[in-house]
């Protein structure tokens, strides 16, 4: 199959995930969700809190990210992120913890508009997960 490309997710501690039979990846880019297929034009963008969907032959996977950068080049998709969780491993209590944290952050008054927006996003995404 030539419709597949490689995706690599790295976080500061380690290389989180490498997969090379991916047919489509949907990332929560800053200006809206973005689906990436093979032979997409080279692109750099950054992420807002949301869900990364990875569709591949060996099954679909969903990840929750809070921030990050995506780079797509020569059919290699690199995602750099500092906070990432596999939804399959995430149980309710973990979700609640994250949600609580995000809500606290969103309710702070001394933050600027951008971080307020990001915190709101987190709350929204986490709420839809429940």
């Amino acid at each position: 199959m030539s419709e597949e490309f490689k995706v690599e997710i790295v976080n500061p501690e380690k290389s989180f995930l490498v997969k090379d039979d991916v047919s489509e990846v949907v990332v929560p880019a800053f200006e809206g969700e973005m689906g990436i297929l093979k032979d997409h034009i080279s692109i750099i963008s950054f992420l807002k809190p949301g869900i990364i969907k990875i569709l591949s032959k060996s099954g679909d996977e969903n990840y929750y990210v809070e921030d990050g950068i995506v780079e797509f080049k020569n059919n290699n998709l690199s995602i750099l992120t500092s906070t990432i969780f596999n939804l399959a491993d995430m149980d309710k209590s973990k979700q609640q913890d994250l949600l609580k944290q995000a809500e606290e952050e969103a309710n702070k008054t001394d933050i600027n508009d951008q971080s307020k927006y990001l915190a709101d996003q987190k709350v929204e995404v986490l709420k839809t997960l429940n």
Binding site: P12, S15, F30, S42, I43, S45, F46, E71, K73, L80
Partner: protein, 290 residues
């Protein structure tokens, strides 16, 4: 010559020191493996980050208006140095090597009549630097509580550096750390992180990118993250280096203690033999005189 009793005591004390150094070596070896692993695992992230920034800065159309973190403030008057050392001693030349490198850099800066500001990370560096450069140290951070280097700590340092940069407190920022090559060799490094120094590195491709949103926005989002990432990388390298350095230092100490015990034992046996011989001579000559 020391009395037999004294020698015995010394042998016992050297032996117990040897036990301690041996135990420290074992601990360092175990920790080293973990630290080395995380240093190696952390490399892809910082490399990728560097790559993206490289591609971005090559693609940037308006160099004049590039973010200050990338292009600098346009002058080089005030230098900020982040000296990263360990919180614990007994690790051979680990801290001294970093300090030596940093000091020669400091001297150069001051010779050129520029202003110097220092942030020390890790208490050992602070201890060594405050004697000479005490008035230059503006901040001292130590992560004694956290067991392993983690990104959260690095981010804290990074945010502080950026805050100070935005407040116009310095123009150039350099970090000092030990790069882990192998257990025996650690190379002290001085890495300039503000403004970003990409000279000599060729971009991997000439391809142009599509940016979403535009370059400026991505860059201004990415550059602060890169600072934290570079600091995190330095912390990882440092902790691997620290354990490696400690391991070889403790290995040497254990070996030296062993040699010392051997030497002292020989001396002990000799003087014991000499005492016996002396007593024998006394007895024999006493018997002869009868």
């Amino acid at each position: 010559m020391a009395s037999l009793d004294d020698l015995k005591k010394r042998i016992a004390s050297v032996k117990s020191t040897q036990k301690i150094t041996k135990a420290m070596k074992m601990v360092a070896a175990a920790k080293l493996r973990r630290a080395q692993e995380s240093a190696e695992k952390g490399r892809p992230y910082s490399e990728k980050m560097n790559n993206v920034i490289l591609n971005l800065s090559n693609g940037i159309s308006d160099k004049e208006n590039a973010p200050k973190l990338l292009s600098g403030t346009g002058q080089e008057k005030t230098h900020l140095c982040v000296v990263m050392t360990s919180d614990r001693g007994l690790c051979g030349g680990f801290n001294s090597n970093i300090i030596k490198k940093a000091k020669s850099y400091f001297a150069k800066i001051l010779d050129e009549g520029k202003e110097l500001k220092i942030i020390t990370v890790g208490s050992k560096g602070n201890d060594q630097l405050k004697r000479v450069y005490g008035d230059k140290i503006i901040e001292n951070i130590s992560f004694k509580e956290s067991k392993n280097a983690n990104y959260f700590d690095a981010d804290k340092v990074g945010k502080m550096v950026i805050e100070k940069f935005e407040a116009g407190e310095f123009d150039v920022c350099t970090i000092f750390y030990n790069q882990f090559k192998n257990v025996i060799t650690q190379i002290p490094q001085a890495q300039q992180i503000i403004p970003l120094n990409n000279e000599g590195e060729e971009s991997s491709s000439e391809e142009s990118y599509e940016f979403e949103p535009d370059e400026d926005e991505i860059l201004s989002n990415l550059l602060p993250k890169n600072i934290s990432t570079q600091i995190f990388k330095a912390m990882l390298e440092n902790s691997a280096s620290e354990q490696g350095s400690r391991m070889s230092a403790m290995d040497n100490a254990t070996r030296n203690a062993g040699e010392m015990v051997d030497k002292l034992t020989i001396e002990y046996n000799r003087s014991r033999q000499a005492a016996i011989t002396k007593e024998l001579i006394e007895i024999i000559s006493g018997a002869e005189s009868l």
